[in-house]
C-alpha cells in the first residue's frame, strides 16, 4: 500500500473532524424538529401512552429486581465495615445516600440504555431499512412527529420515574437485610437516614441527574436508529453504538453533575 503523504493525512484528519461536527449538528436539528417542530399529529397522546408502555412499564421488572439486590448488597457490605467502628446504625444513612445520589440515577440509566435504548434503536433502524419511514413521508405524515417524538417523550418521562422506583426498592431491600437479618435496631436505622438525607439536596439532585440522563440516553438511542445505515449490519452497529455511547455519556456526565452538585466550590 502506498505511503500516505503528509497532506493526505491532514486532509483525513480534517474530514473526520467535519464528520464529527456534522453528526452533532444533524442530531441537534433532529432533536429540535422532533420536539418543537410544527404540525402536531392527531392522537399523539395515544402514541405516547403506547411508547410509555413499551419503554417504561416493560423496564419495570429489571429495575425492581436489580434495585432490590443492589440495596441488599449495599446493606451487607456497609454493615460489615461499619460494625468495625461500632456504628452499624449508620448503615441506613449509607444505603439511602448512595442510592439517592449515585446508584439510583446511574444504574437505572445504564440498565435503561441496555434494555430500552437498544430496542428503540433497533426498532427505528428496522423501520428505516424496510423504508417504512419514507413511506410515511410519502403519504404526508412527518415521521419525526409520528415515530420519533412519542419515543423521545416516553424516554424523558419514564427514566426519572424508574430511577425513583429503583431507589425506593433499593432502600426497602437494604432495610430488610439490615433490620430483619443483621439485627440493626429499626428506630435508629430510619432516624439516622432521615437525619442525614435532605429532600432538597439529595432527593431533588438525584431526580435532576436522572432527568439529564433520560435526555441523553433517549436522544442517543433514537438518533442512532434514525441515522443508521439501512442494512442489517448497519442496524447492529447502531445498536452497539447506542449502548456504548449512552453508557459513556451517562458515566461522564455523572462525574460532572456530582462535581457541580456535591463538590465544595
Amino acid at each position: 500500500m502506498r505511503k500516505k503523504s503528509l497532506m493526505e493525512r491532514i486532509r483525513l484528519l480534517g474530514r473526520s473532524a467535519i464528520d464529527i461536527v456534522a453528526v452533532f449538528g444533524r442530531s441537534g436539528i433532529f432533536l429540535v424538529h422532533a420536539l418543537f417542530g410544527r404540525g402536531g399529529i392527531s392522537g399523539g397522546f395515544q402514541l405516547l401512552v403506547k411508547q410509555l408502555y413499551s419503554v417504561g412499564v416493560m423496564s419495570l421488572a429489571i429495575i425492581v429486581v436489580s434495585g432490590m439486590f443492589i440495596g441488599m448488597v449495599l446493606s451487607l457490605q456497609g454493615f460489615s465495615i461499619l460494625a468495625n467502628y461500632g456504628s452499624e446504625q449508620a448503615v441506613g444513612q449509607m444505603v439511602a445516600l448512595t442510592l439517592l445520589r449515585e446508584l439510583g440515577p446511574v444504574v437505572t440509566a445504564l440498565l435503561f440504555a441496555g434494555r430500552a435504548g437498544s430496542a428503540l434503536t433497533a426498532e427505528i433502524g428496522n423501520m428505516k431499512s424496510t423504508e417504512q419511514l419514507s413511506s410515511l413521508e410519502m403519504i404526508g405524515v412527518d415521521p419525526l412527529k409520528y415515530i420519533i417524538a412519542p419515543r423521545l417523550w416516553a424516554g424523558f418521562i419514564s427514566l426519572p420515574l424508574l430511577a425513583m422506583i429503583f431507589s425506593v426498592v433499593g432502600i426497602w431491600g437494604g432495610s430488610w437485610v439490615a433490620i430483619d437479618w443483621l439485627g440493626v435496631y429499626e428506630g435508629s436505622f430510619w432516624a439516622n437516614m432521615q437525619n442525614s438525607v435532605s429532600f432538597s439536596d439529595d432527593v431533588i439532585n438525584g431526580v435532576i441527574k436522572s432527568v439529564v440522563f433520560a435526555f441523553v440516553v433517549t436522544w442517543i438511542a433514537v438518533f442512532q436508529g434514525y441515522d443508521c445505515e439501512p442494512t442489517s449490519e448497519g442496524i447492529s452497529r447502531a445498536t452497539t453504538k447506542t449502548v456504548v455511547y449512552a453508557s459513556l455519556a451517562v458515566l461522564g456526565l455523572d462525574f460532572i453533575l456530582t462535581a457541580l452538585m456535591f463538590g465544595d466550590f
Partner: protein, 155 residues
C-alpha cells in the same frame, strides 16, 4: 381490550413513580409538610464549635427538640454564633439554660445539648443563650493532661 391493558399498565407505572417520590420525601428524607412554621429561633455563642455542622440535632434530656440551621463567626467577639430552630411546643425554656456541644458516642456526630436553668424568665424567638460550653477538642485535652504531669514531676 389490548389498548385498555396498555393504558392501565401506564397508569399504574405513573402512580408507582409518584408514590416513589412521596416515599422518598416523607419516609427517607423525613420531610414534614409544616416544618417551617412550628419552630422558633435561638442563638448561642460558643468559644469553639469545632466539629458541629449545620443540621445537627438540638436535644434536651436526650430528646431531639430542634436543629442547627446556621453557623457563622461573630466578628466582634470572635466566637462561633450558632443559630438553632427549636420546636414551638418546647416554649418554656428558662432564660438561664445552658447550651453545650456534645458528642454522640465515641466517634459519633456532634450535637447541641440544652440543660435547663432555674430562672422564671423564658427564652423567646430570637433570644441568645449566654451560658455555653464549647466543643471538646482532643488536642487541648491532651495538652492539659501533659502540662499536668509535667508540673507534677517538677514538684
Amino acid at each position: 381490550m389490548q389498548n385498555r391493558t396498555i393504558e392501565t399498565g401506564v397508569g399504574l407505572f405513573l402512580l408507582a413513580g409518584i408514590l416513589a417520590l412521596l416515599l422518598l420525601a416523607l419516609r427517607v428524607s423525613g420531610l414534614s409538610a409544616s416544618a417551617a412554621t412550628d419552630s422558633y429561633k435561638l442563638y448561642a455563642n460558643f468559644d469553639n464549635i469545632a466539629g458541629l455542622t449545620v443540621r445537627a440535632k438540638v436535644s434536651m434530656a436526650g430528646v431531639t427538640i430542634g436543629r442547627v440551621t446556621a453557623i457563622d463567626l461573630d466578628r466582634d467577639t470572635f466566637t462561633g454564633r450558632v443559630t438553632m430552630e427549636v420546636q414551638k411546643k418546647v416554649d418554656n425554656l428558662p432564660i438561664d439554660s445552658t447550651a453545650s456541644i456534645l458528642t454522640a458516642g465515641l466517634l459519633g456526630e456532634k450535637y447541641v445539648g440544652i440543660s435547663v436553668g432555674g430562672d422564671d424568665g423564658l427564652l423567646k424567638d430570637g433570644s441568645t443563650i449566654h451560658d455555653t460550653q464549647s466543643s471538646l477538642v482532643l488536642e487541648d485535652l491532651i495538652g492539659k493532661f501533659l502540662l499536668n504531669t509535667v508540673s507534677k514531676d517538677a514538684k
